[in-house]
């Protein structure tokens, strides 16, 4: 179907769907290049609705980078909401890009962003609507190259038969190398296999069809072998040694979206090492941008977009070395511009009184979100987030004293060895924070409690542990619901069955792909949306495929076991993860690695890059400096 026909049909469809502004394109700063004069065309896809996909900074960065190239264009596509999906099917309109309404099939590359796992079925819906075969083995030279990147790809195996290639790690540079590789292949001709082989030679690219997995009789993975010499084992994650200049422009949406602001990543990585946190492990090393660079990007970005809010983003923004100077500088620079500063992800230890005072003046905060995660010393040491109750209560005191009414607290249940006493302590702590608030501002004090459930993620020290069982999670949630039912308290939690889905998809092997396909066929879609998640469909799919869901989630894995993601190297050494896992059982913690290098493996892994980019570019010590030499030696652990 040609774009004009698609547009004509859209004219009739759009007035009949909710929030049609999601599907029009045409927003300010979108990039429309001349299709016929641009030889290489990339569609950047996000497998959830516009509102969520447009809030994804990774997608915006790639859009910006690709469109800066001559001879390459990037356009966007998001998952249509259910009413729009129905309409597209009814009117036989293929899924198409927002910018020029070209069907996805007409692009050379279709690149999906996969920041988390529960989006997988939406990928299938989008391929189906685009008329693109699901399996890499069913696609031919006429189909777009199907690639994916994002944190979920650190275990690519569940989607290994669907995607042609995965980017492991940071996409800013590798995307251009992939494009170049495709252009060369198009020029020289050759089969799809030839393209795969040359892609496999790029640092950070994993081409799953060049590998084969074998299993033992009990279902555990026995080994992963290469089918081609070009395939690397392990596939080492890609990093950019220095954060490239941030986007200076951004598409300004017409409709409201989840994060409707100008985002700037002030820092990548986190030096804290919480043991449950995958992001903290896989985004190392920590790299900060300079204040000058940030101010410059905001200045241009705000002028180019008109956004009234700027988001200073990172995994832990209050840990940014000169966070006070940064916030002061931004607020000073834009004091006459009604620019609100949003600073999410604050860490209790580094949320200083000075920072609070600054934010009180400069941002329209309704309160603070703090993530103690656990409430007993034992659990805090186990997860390596040793924030004391006293510290939290002091912080709460300072927050309420400054006139804020609401504190949001994030906790996580289901950690290894957790007991009901540990959960009771969460309830007690929430009540203590509320009591603190009441003593300062009376009945206006609020505590909003969010209870997440732990999923042992690949590439973390907890990757070997089992998931808590649904009935245990339910029991813990019942306790919290019973205890935290009081005026001033609000409690949120996740359905444990949704947690199981996240766990299967995070921890699955290649065979799990068949379950995903089967669940999709049985109607699974928008699994991340509570009202659409259907547990039974997934259980039926497991049953049909002949796999046991508990095999993936409730089995503690031995350290010797070959894990489905072992051929993916996040550059944090397995030895380090093992040691940290053992430390967790001994109650030993690791403090901020800015102060002391624990030799996680990043430095020896990327020592050449570190030498090329010395000094403050990384928060890691410099390998050549003799007084830090000690840091380089990796402690040996007996396994």
């Amino acid at each position: 179907m040609i774009p004009e026909d698609i547009q004509r049909k859209l004219d009739r469809i759009l007035p009949t769907v909710q929030k049609p502004g999601r599907y029009t394109g045409g927003e300010y700063n979108q990039v429309v290049k001349d299709w016929s004069k641009t030889p290489t065309r990339v569609a950047l896809a996000f497998p959830d609705i516009y509102d969520i996909g447009m809030s994804n900074l990774g997608l915006a960065i790639l859009y910006d980078i690709i469109n800066q190239q001559t001879d390459v264009l990037a356009e966007r596509v998001f998952a249509p909401w259910l009413d729009m999906e129905d309409a597209l099917r009814r009117e036989s309109v293929p899924l198409h890009s927002l910018e020029t309404k070209h069907p996805l099939r007409d692009f050379d590359i279709l690149g999906f962003s996969l920041p988390y796992e529960v989006l997988y079925t939406n990928v299938l819906t989008m391929l189906d609507l685009a008329g693109i075969p699901f399996l890499t083995s069913d696609r031919n030279e006429k189909d777009p190259l199907l690639i994916a990147g994002g944190h979920a790809t650190y275990n690519p195996e569940p989607m290994a038969e669907i995607f042609d290639a995965f980017v492991i790690g940071e996409g800013e540079e590798v995307i251009l190398e992939i494009i170049q590789c495709l252009e060369t292949w198009k020029r020289c001709g050759g089969g799809r296999k030839d393209l795969y082989k040359s892609l496999a030679g790029i640092w950070g690219v994993y081409v799953p069809s060049l590998y084969q997995t074998s299993y033992q009789d009990d279902g555990r993975l026995s080994h992963i072998e290469r089918l081609a010499d070009d395939a690397q084992i392990p596939v080492i994650k890609r990093i950019v040694p220095k954060l490239p200049p941030p986007p200076r422009s951004l598409i300004v949406p017409f409709v409201d979206i989840t994060h409707n602001r100008f985002p700037i990543e002030i820092m990548r990585g986190c030096t804290r090492g919480c043991r449950f946190c995958q992001a903290g492990m896989i985004t190392r090393p920590v790299r900060e941008r300079t204040i000058e660079e940030i101010i410059e990007a905001i200045t241009e970005g705000v002028a180019n977009t008109g956004f009234e809010e700027v988001g200073l983003l990172s995994l832990s923004s209050s840990d940014f070395s000169s966070i006070l100077d940064l916030v002061r500088e931004v607020s000073e620079r834009f004091k006459d511009h009604h620019l609100n500063i949003s600073l999410p992800s604050l860490r209790i230890e580094s949320l200083s009184i000075d920072l609070m005072d600054l934010l009180r003046e400069k941002s329209q905060r309704r309160g603070f979100t703090l993530a103690p995660e656990a409430a007993t010393e034992r659990m805090r040491e186990l997860i390596n987030k040793p924030v004391s109750t006293e510290q939290l209560l002091n912080t709460a005191h300072e927050i309420y004293t400054r006139g804020w009414h609401t504190i949001k607290l994030y906790f996580m249940i289901g950690h290894p060895t957790e007991t009901l006493d540990d959960v009771q302590a969460i309830a007690d702590l929430c009540k203590a924070v509320l009591a603190k608030g009441r003593s300062i501002i009376g009945k206006r004090a609020r505590v909003h409690v969010s209870i997440g459930t732990f999923v042992p993620k690949p590439h973390t020290p907890f990757q070997w542990t089992a998931c808590d069982r649904v009935e245990h999670i339910e029991e813990k949630q019942r306790l919290l619901k019973r205890q935290l039912r009081a005026p001033g308290l609000k409690l949120n939690w996740n359905d444990p069955k949704e947690t199981m889905l996240e766990a299967w998809l995070s921890r699955g092997d290649r065979r799990l792909g068949h379950v995903i396909l089967e669940a999709w066929k049985r109607g699974a879609k928008f699994d991340a949306w509570q009202e659409h998640f259907n547990y039974q469909v997934w259980m039926d799919a497991f049953d049909y495929v002949g796999l046991d869901p508990h095999f993936y989630t409730h089995r503690e894995r031995s350290i010797e076991e070959t894990l489905p993601w072992d051929h993916i190297d996040a550059a944090v050494k397995k030895q380090f993860l093992v040691e940290d896992y053992i430390w967790s059982t001994e109650g030993r913690t690791r403090r901020d690695c800015r102060d002391h290098c624990y030799a996680c493996g990043i430095l020896p892994g990327f020592s050449d890059l570190r030498r090329l980019y010395p000094g403050k570019t990384w928060e890691c010590p410099e390998p050549q400096s003799p007084d830090r030499k000690k840091a380089e030696t990796i402690p040996q652990v007996q396994v």
Binding site: D11, R12, L14, P15, T16, P20, G21, Y23, T24, G25, G26, E27, Y28, V252, F254, V255, D256, N260, V302, A303, N304, T305, G306, F307, E308, H337, H338, Q364
Partner: protein, 216 residues
């Protein structure tokens, strides 16, 4: 200190294509950002969540295009209307075009309260035979009452139709022109008129051409 004089400007603009699916509410945000990009010195409200002082004319339903939209803005400093026009058009999103800007007396009542009727042009993409259409238009105009239901509420559409005519007709393309009441609590919607003619509103493109103000 005496309060600084603020200035009110009225922006006449058109809304077409992509932006026709941006709702009245979302358009406020689009305007705020557009004016910020243009460096127009908006007056902001005080308080916890400062908002720029702006006021739009009667809401344009989702999907309609228009050549007669109006926005009033309040500015901290006096501006040359022509400069506002140029600066804003330079950074306006596709589908939003400023036609003119004029300074208005800050005491003038809101536009919304002055509008009594709105002129629409409706293009039919699947028109009926000319004679059939003529007959149903006539029958509609001759009727005393047009009982209809909208969002579960019964109402009479007939008194809301001030005029209705076939304004253009040739092969495959027919245009209706209708003036519908736009008073508070008495607003006629063009797709209701189209449905009353026995036509499918999803094949109609509705375009607002003129706001009719109360005679002063």
């Amino acid at each position: 200190m005496a309060p600084r004089k603020i200035h009110r400007y009225r922006i006449h603009f058109s809304k077409s294509e992509a932006i026709r699916f941006t709702s009245h509410l979302d358009l406020y945000r689009t305007w705020e950002r557009t004016l910020r990009r243009a460096g127009v010195p908006l007056v902001y409200s005080q308080g916890f969540n400062p908002r720029p002082k702006m006021n739009q004319g009667p809401a344009l339903p989702l999907g309609y295009t228009s050549e007669c939209e109006v926005l009033d803005i309040w500015l901290k400093e006096e501006q040359i209307p022509g400069n506002i026009l140029d600066n804003v058009n330079h950074v306006a999103p596709e589908g939003m075009r400023i036609q003119s800007v004029q300074e208005v007396d800050p005491r003038v009542p809101s536009l919304q309260s002055q509008v009594v009727a709105i002129d629409y042009e409706v293009t039919l993409h699947k028109p009926p035979l000319p004679d059939d259409l003529q007959r149903s238009v006539q029958a509609l105009l001759n009727s005393k009452k047009l009982p209809r239901q909208r969002r579960g509420k019964d109402y009479d559409l007939r008194p809301l139709i001030e005029s209705l005519e076939i304004s253009h007709q040739d092969k495959g393309r027919v245009t209706l022109r209708m003036i519908l009441s736009a008073r508070e609590g008495a607003t006629g919607r063009p797709e209701e008129v189209i449905a009353s003619l026995g036509l499918d509103p999803t094949y109609a493109r509705i375009h607002r051409t003129r706001l009719i103000l109360e005679a002063e």
